[in-house]
Symmetry: C3
Subunit: 336 residues, 3 copies
């Protein structure tokens, strides 16, 4: 059903799991915002702030909550979860093509690879020895897939992503451009000489990545020192995230961009970690924890809930006065 | 006039827009600091801290402010904006070669591309379908330019940069290595099942990048969900910046390294955002706003000016005592 | 001795510089944690928290401190620095192969290159003009090494790393995937027109990288404006670090992931900079300084020791109340 780019509303409502109120045969050719939609487009209302646009939108159909349906006179898809229905519909209008079995002539294979027959592999991809790739997977140009890597079915690797090797990638996982998987963790032993030099700890582990994972552009995931680094099923990682060696991230946890997680930290299931968060090493964070943007997590978290650190933004002039007081806070309080 | 690497001072002064006081025919072959310059070099004074070096420098010419000219006895270029004149002169000594029309034999082209005749394209570049590239543009080795991308004139893509597709890049724009443009934004709808799983929101928009933009190494720019992500003319982005889907950055705004800007935030013109700043999503920041390093911006900014968050650095021992008090600040104040 | 993957304990103890107590001829085939080790594995105790595992581990040998040897009845390697001995042993079990002189047919060389005979160069590597590569060096697939670059002996470049050019890389240095070396620094002069436009400062310097340096995946190092950016011998840089133009980092300093160092800052020897630290430009940090995670360094540091900024993490609800007070801290203190 995908990629036709013209669907009757009946088909869309079935795919989205929503109740159609209106013309079953109405043909929809696009998805757009309430503001920009034309009569051939479907749109959605999931944020109350845009409710007034229901009166003026030109959309040919709107996805909305049951208690909003009276505010829109046209065709509608009614559902308790409009944002989810919108997400489903977005899949219908995606231009991603299914893999067709094209392997570019320039692709380099190592020994003993097992590649399913319908896999697409783009120009200049380099694949090591003992690599297995499941059916329906697409590997775009310029990727590097190192030795002893197993890639599941319907996986996508976008251009120039790299896997060092000894990695498992589950089905339906998406890996974006410039991602690095399996790089050396940051492990060095002090030599205890006068120059302060370091002895490298060679990294002997691998990386396990589950099914339905997404890994954003420029994110780096180091392999384990001895065991594996683990990204469980359904984990969503945004761009430019750093995952150090032996980190373990639980099922369906989502991590926003620019966050760094230091070595051997374990994060539970269904957590949401906002952007630019830092989490130091060797911590355990339980399930259902939420961390707000730019928080530094320096101790384990045993209770679900939301956690934060930092100070509020202010005019620099005002902030500077408050910050100067912070620098003497202990002595100020002692004097009280 | 570029790349000759030997210029009479008269030519340099005209190019830099500064007034020459001294020998018009003096030949200059390099640009250097006051400390390291030799007699064949031109140098500059734009920071008062280095003023005393005017007495000792061996430079064959110095760019300086009118009120500094009495402190240097040699040839000088006098201007109200010495740093700008220095920047102009730096162009004269850059070794960047003009594009010459060389397309490496290994380059892969999709269908219906329109490539100007004098474009340089390096080894292993992969270009999708319906790509247009304007005259004088250079695309270095290993880049990926996806379908439906239009690249203007005199653009540079450094090695291994990636464009997913549906992107417009204006004239004279510079894109550094490992940049990713057009990756999927971080959009997922909660399925509301017991496992906390996510439904991907397929990203259907593109990216518009203006003229005279520079995008630093490793920076990632996601494409829009439905509309486009927009980087206006003259914007300067440093390395390892994250720009989420549907962000809009106004003309001539400069953003320093490691900053992350979350989805749908709009930033005005002529702003300067320092390094490691975090800006959360769906905000509006007006023109002429300045954000200091590592600030977290959590609300819209309607007034020009400078904004900050965070606490000052201190000895860890002292900091720890103050930070412990911060953790009880509300109850301390309530007791007063 | 490397890569045999089966060593008698006598050989291991000599390589690790530790005293063997036990069976010299015992064959060891792997390295593992106390928890997971089997009888053919060697393990180690360097963290007191795992001491109780000495009673239950199945390891065929344990590396430990002299005062711990009575707690383990099997074979042991006794040393004052067990973590260092473990690191040495990790090298024995690394699967890194020595370079063998294979240069893939697709490699592109510029003019006047000098490549040692036993260098390995992977598929699709592009090497510019006047590049020198020393013996034993490995350059993996997809790397770009620009003009006028000198690479020492036994260096490793992992896939898709980029060097713009004018770079020196010392012996035994390791450069991970997606690293960028020599990109343009972020230098722009205000034109002082009404639109706030910028004149690019062309970057004319290079990058000097010492021996025994490691540079993590996705790290970016800009070349100098006029002089060089300098990374001294033994420096260890983790993933996704940003090093701006003309930064100088002293011998054996280690920097953790996601840290950014702004232009012209000089850092001393034997410093440790934790993750997600920001260091602004034009500072001088002396030797033996330690910076804790996510600290913003805004002034020079003349005394060794540990430095921090930020506030502790708390429940968001509690944090918010304290943070609100911070925003009025100066006026609160004035009223006291």
């Amino acid at each position: 059903m995908k990629n036709k780019m013209a669907y009757p509303l009946e088909e869309i409502s079935a795919f989205a799991g929503a109740v159609l109120v209106g013309d079953k045969e109405k043909i929809i050719t696009g998805l757009n915002t309430l503001e920009n939609a034309i009569d051939e487009d479907i749109s959605f209302l999931s944020n109350k702030a845009y409710e007034s646009l229901l009166a003026t939108t030109s959309a040919g159909c709107v996805i909305l909550l049951p208690d909003k349906q009276d505010f829109f006179v046209g065709n509608k898809l009614v559902t308790e979860n409009p944002y989810y229905a919108f997400a489903k519909v977005s899949e219908l209008f995606s231009t991603l093509a299914a893999a067709s079995g094209e392997v570019h002539a320039s692709v380099v294979f190592g020994s003993s690879c097992q590649i399913a027959s319908d896999v697409d592999i783009g120009a200049n991809v380099v694949i090591g020895a003992n690599v297995t790739i499941g059916r329906g997977t697409t590997i775009y140009a310029g990727c590097y897939i190192g030795d002893n890597t197993t890639i599941g079915e319907n996986v996508i690797f976008y251009p120039n992503a790299c896997v060092y090797g000894n990695t498992f990638v589950g089905d339906n996982t998406i890996i974006h451009s410039q991602v690095v998987i399996g790089s050396d963790g940051f492990g060095f032993a002090p030599v205890r000489d006068s120059r302060g030099s370091w002895q490298k700890v060679y990294q002997l582990g691998g990386v396990d990545i589950g099914c339905n994972v997404e890994i954003g552009a420029g994110t780096t995931i180091d392999r384990g020192v001895l065991d594996n680094t683990v990204i469980a099923d359904g984990v969503k990682l945004d761009n430019q995230i750093q995952i150090a060696h032996n980190v373990r991230i639980g099922e369906n946890t989502a991590v926003a961009a620019c966050t760094g997680i230091a070595g051997s930290t374990t994060i539970g299931k269904r957590c949401t970690i906002a952007g630019a968060v830092g989490i130091i090493g060797h911590l355990t964070i339980t399930d259902d924890v939420h961390i707000t943007a730019m928080t530094l997590v320096t101790k384990s978290i045993g209770q679900p809930g939301s956690y934060s650190s930092g100070t509020p933004m202010n005019r620099t002039e005002t902030w500077r006065k408050n910050a100067a007081r912070f620098n003497h806070l202990d002595s100020i309080v002692r004097k009280l």
